[in-house]
Amino acid sequence: MVFDWSAIPGSLPILWQGMIVTLQITLVGVLVGLLLGTLLALFRLSPNRLLSWLSAAYVTVFRSIPLVMVLFWFHLVLVPLVVGLLFPGKRLELRFIAALTAFSLFEASYYAEIIRAGILSVTKGQFNAGLALGMNRREVMRLVVLPQALRRMVPLLLTQAIILFQDSTLVYVINLDDFFRKAYNIGNTVGTLNEMILFAGAVYLVICTLASGCVRQLHRKFTVLPVK
């Protein structure tokens, strides 16, 4: 069982390109997902029944199908459709856009749930206390509820981001070259597939372990211990 790691040093530039793609997908997915997710959460909590229902439908749809299916949908159906409408007749490099869109919309549904749970976890008593002091609904949300909700949400939101970082490897199914795909391709070409797969795994392991360790520390700082 002899390992040949010699392919790694030379291929670092290519791997780094792949990592950039991975990071771009993760970043866009998190940012757009957060924005859209917040909207969805607020819709769900709003007294307007249509908005509430639409938001619930969105979340249900995206949470009941595999991410692989979502990627297929966007890559083979929806993105070509929209692009075909906006730029008829052009052939564009669609995979990256499809991936960004798919991940953003997919993550939004998960973020929506986290945010909604976070807001709901701040009790009605807190809300009423704010109102009793003379603040209006919006002020209470902004000054009392959201700050508390955010403290509870942030660790979960960050954890979800780490999950997204790992899920980005699924762009394999639409033949997009992210970090893992590059590692796999190099391994296939040079003939050291096992070593490249293990190397990629180790890189993810290190990054994610460090990241989740940081999230845990953050969680500890944010959690206010009960007064004895």
Binding site: I65, V82, F180, N194, Y204
Partner: protein, 279 residues
């Protein structure tokens, strides 16, 4: 806000209008042309991939997905329970091993783990590995690798839930069991786990649903499950919408079925007066 809702509406109506101008006999793989004329008879036409018609082709794919999910669930539940219990035990070694397991399997992407199980491990294992690569038919190679990967991956998540479930019972139950003279193992099996599992039914259900979704990842090593079959049907029949709509619908139906069974299980195991059971 509202523009994001308008986009799909505009897309659908524009392409519908566009489609009416085109001949329904266009074979171009363009969503624009196929949207206007949904052709559901495509499901009854024979699939080039197998001896069945397209709909059955998809249904068989669903069956394979479910098979992988069930096999993985057995592995995940057993290993996850063991690791979860390990993390609640006193002492330092066992909880630490449990923690290491969870960290390892949660911080490597699922796809990478799958590739390790399918490519690396058979290569590295001396005798069994060679037998695996040469004697076992490909579909079962993929199945075994998929089960091992998904099973151990999901086990890490179940371990955390079991740990939380037992923790939520409080130290009093453990103390009460021990005070009666029961040994530690008996307290876990007879007192803690029966109640913890009941509390965990909703969480475990959602974990099983996740597992079903994760079976789609097995398509990357060639396992012919539902997501892959939807894509391949879309390619062979040029009917992208119908193919993916069917695939999506099948996943949604499976989802509903699982939730239905989970609710029935919850009612069946409910304790009178407790956790919403009969009074």
């Amino acid at each position: 806000m509202y523009p994001s809702l308008l986009i799909p509406l505009v897309a659908v109506s524009a392409s519908a209008a566009h489609g009416f101008y085109l001949s329904p006999f266009t074979f171009h793989l363009s969503p624009l042309t196929t949207l206007a004329a949904f052709d559901f008879s495509v499901f009854l036409r024979p699939s080039p991939e197998s001896a069945l018609n397209n709909l059955s082709y998809l249904l068989v794919g669903l069956g394979w997905s479910l098979l992988l999910a069930l096999a993985s669930w057995v592995v995940a539940f057993v290993v996850g329970s063991v690791v979860g219990v390990m993390r609640t035990l006193p002492g330092r070694i066992l909880p630490f091993i449990g923690a290491c397991y969870v960290e390892l399997f949660r911080n490597v992407p699922l796809l990478v783990q799958l590739f390790i199980w399918f490519f690396v491990i058979p290569d590295m294992t001396p005798i069994l590995g060679d037998w695996f690569k040469q004697q076992v038919p490909p579909i079962w190679q993929e199945f075994i690798a998929g089960t091992a990967c998904l099973g151990l991956f999901t086990a890490a998540r179940i371990a955390e839930q079991v740990r939380a479930g037992i923790g939520s019972l409080g130290p009093g139950q453990l103390g009460a069991g021990l005070a009666l003279g029961l040994k530690g193992r008996q307290v876990y099996l007879l007192v803690l786990l029966p109640v913890a599992y009941r509390i965990l039914i909703p969480t475990l259900t959602s974990e099983f649903l996740n597992l079903i979704k994760n079976t789609a990842v097995a398509s990357t090593i060639g396992y012919v499950e539902l997501a892959q079959r939807s894509a391949s049907m879309a390619e062979t029949t040029s009917r992208v919408y119908e193919a993916f709509a069917a695939g999506t619908l099948l996943y949604a139906v499976l989802n509903l079925l699982v939730m239905f069974f989970a609710r029935a299980l919850e009612r069946f195991t409910a304790l009178p007066g407790f956790l919403g059971g009969r009074k």
